[in-house]
């Protein structure tokens, strides 16, 4: 592929990576569970688009299946399942936070800086002539940190799932950025793992809600007869 096209692909990947990072921050900044799910769908869609661009720009056709699966499972199937769970349990807002929103946003901003310095030391000297997609490594590390942060500071079980999925998106993105994606068999394994996990967690949330009349994980601290 000629250099100008490659440059365009690089620019598009940069924009999509920025958009992915922004969706992760919007999850941190909002309260509505429905909005979380929509943002996650959008994030996965952008992730699928990055994978498709890697196929187009670098000729790595083995990612094609993973890209299609990303869009089909993460951007469509999982959000549909989660929306139905939300509809059935009638919980729409995340109300209790361990850390309030402005402070969480600032902490996540700090995490991006941390992620960038880590990515710098991983990529080291080859940074200058590495392909555009490797610049995304800092974004992917930041996504893993933000996902973990969402899981530790939010108390609703749905939000915990969104945090987990954000981390998973980060892992997929880092795979893309370093080695143009993991081997297909690993990717497919992860996809089904995630899909089944979300299905089971969905049922689980429903049961938690029925037993405790809330999906706040605080209720899970004590054992019940």
């Amino acid at each position: 592929m000629d250099p100008t096209n490659l440059q365009t692909v690089g620019l598009l990947i940069d924009i999509l990576a920025a958009a992915i990072l922004v969706t992760a921050f919007l999850v941190v900044s909002s309260r509505s569970l429905v909005f979380y799910i929509r943002l996650f769908a959008l994030q996965s869609f952008f992730l699928g688009a990055v994978a498709l661009l890697v196929v187009l720009g670098y000729g790595e056709t083995h990612i094609l299946i993973a890209a299609v699966l990303t869009i089909a499972i993460k951007a469509i199937a999982i959000p549909v399942v989660l929306s139905r769970v939300i509809e059935r349990i009638h919980v729409r807002k995340e109300v209790d936070f361990s850390i309030n929103i402005p402070a969480s946003l600032l902490l996540c901003g700090g995490m991006v800086i941390l992620a960038d310095s880590v990515a710098h030391s991983i990529l080291g000297a080859q940074r200058a002539d590495a392909p555009a997609v490797s610049r995304v490594l800092s974004v992917s590390i930041a996504m893993m940190l933000i996902g973990l942060f969402i899981m530790t500071t939010r108390k609703k079980a749905i939000t915990q799932i969104v945090g987990l999925l954000t981390m998973e998106n980060g892992v997929f993105l880092s795979g893309l950025s370093i080695t143009y994606g993991m081997p297909l068999i690993v990717e497919v394994g992860i996809f089904f793992d995630i899909l089944v996990a979300v299905l089971i967690l969905g049922v689980f949330i429903f049961r938690i809600n029925k037993t405790f009349e809330s999906i706040s994980i605080d209720s899970l601290r004590g054992l019940r007869e």
Binding site: L11, D14, I15, A17, A18, A19, L21, V22, F25, L26, S29, I101, P102, L105, L106, C108, G109, V112, I113, D116, A119, R135, S138, V139
Partner: protein, 318 residues
């Protein structure tokens, strides 16, 4: 055309352009909002009639008001006029670009805001104090977000001079799509909504006691004082829209003083500002005003977007 007379003429023309078009921009936003609410709405020239009416009316000043109250409208208007001379609108470089850079612009706005807040406190009315305290607490969160967004543009251009920023960007059009650039733009857009008192933060249309910010501070003003303050707020909006469009998308700006280039520049300026004004109206119509305690969250999003922009500039490069 060069030398001192040219600088004076060009600067005056630029000043007149912003002075004359500012009420029109507010009129367009008000009309668009009215159409969204299925109302006919006042004509887009209504702000001009309002200003003319206010200028003719008698000024009533509270007997306890001091010189701060009387001088504030002129101070605010004058500082806005100076900013209007510094911001690139149609032609770049701005004739007076050596007078001050973007940081001067930010702090001239802060000067105006400081005096409006003082004047709000000056008459001793409860609403004035309420508005002043709200305005200053919000301003303290807006300022870092605005600084970071603007620094992203400044770092890209390697200068804080507005004309240099605009000229550098128009010579490399590809960098307009840089993600850092787009994020800084969205950060500055939220800042604009907050800074000019638009809907998610403040409502410019009503004097609703409990929620007003800007209107509460200027509640005691009447006649030509009110006219000057209103006109300055309209110009502030026009200047912010000009900054947003020219610092981030300087398409079509005139770089020479040829008549044709100036015409294209004028048309491009109005097209961009009207598009942005329409976006402002859409955002205002589709969002509810935030509770005051939620405003810091929105502004923190603007701050984080600007911070991300600056970080991405170093991750991705210009």
């Amino acid at each position: 055309m060069s030398g001192a007379p040219a600088i004076v003429i060009l600067s005056l023309l630029q000043l007149l352009l912003l002075l004359a078009s500012a009420p029109l921009i507010s009129g367009i936003i008000a009309k668009t909002k009215a159409r969204f609410q299925h109302r006919q709405g006042a004509g887009i020239l209504q702000p001009y009639f309002d200003l003319a009416k206010l200028l003719r009316k008698e000024v009533l000043v509270s007997p306890v008001a001091s010189w701060v109250f009387r001088s504030t409208p002129y101070l605010v208007f004058a500082s806005t006029l100076v900013i209007a001379l510094l911001v690139p609108t149609v032609v770049v470089p701005v004739p007076l670009d050596w007078v001050g850079d973007i940081i001067t612009v930010i702090y001239l706005f802060a000067l105006g805001r400081f005096f409006v807040a003082l004047a709000g406190l000056d008459t001793g009315s409860a609403f004035g104090g309420l508005g002043a305290s709200r305005e200053m607490s919000i301003a303290s969160i807006i300022e870092p977000a605005m600084m970071l967004a603007i620094f992203t543009a400044a770092v890209t251009a390697g200068s804080t001079n507005l004309s240099v920023i605009v000229a550098t960007l128009s010579s490399t059009p590809a960098s307009m799509l840089n993600p850092a650039h787009l994020l800084a733009f969205s950060g500055l857009f939220i800042v604009t909504m907050a800074e000019t008192g638009r809907v998610p933060v403040d409502n410019p249309d009503t004097h609703l006691e409990l929620t007003m910010i800007h209107e509460a501070m200027i509640l005691e003003y009447s006649g030509r004082y009110l006219a000057f303050i209103e006109w300055s707020s309209q110009m502030k909006l026009a200047i912010f829209l000009a900054l947003l469009s020219n610092m981030f998308f300087p398409l079509g700006m005139a770089t020479t003083l040829a008549p044709w280039a100036l015409c294209v520049g004028c048309a491009a300026f109005f097209a961009k500002v009207i598009v942005l004004a329409a976006i402002v109206a859409v955002v205002e119509s589709t969002n509810a005003k935030l509770r005051l305690f939620r405003v810091p969250e929105l502004l923190m999003v603007a701050f984080i977007l600007s911070l991300l922009a600056l970080i991405l500039y170093f991750i991705v490069g210009a």
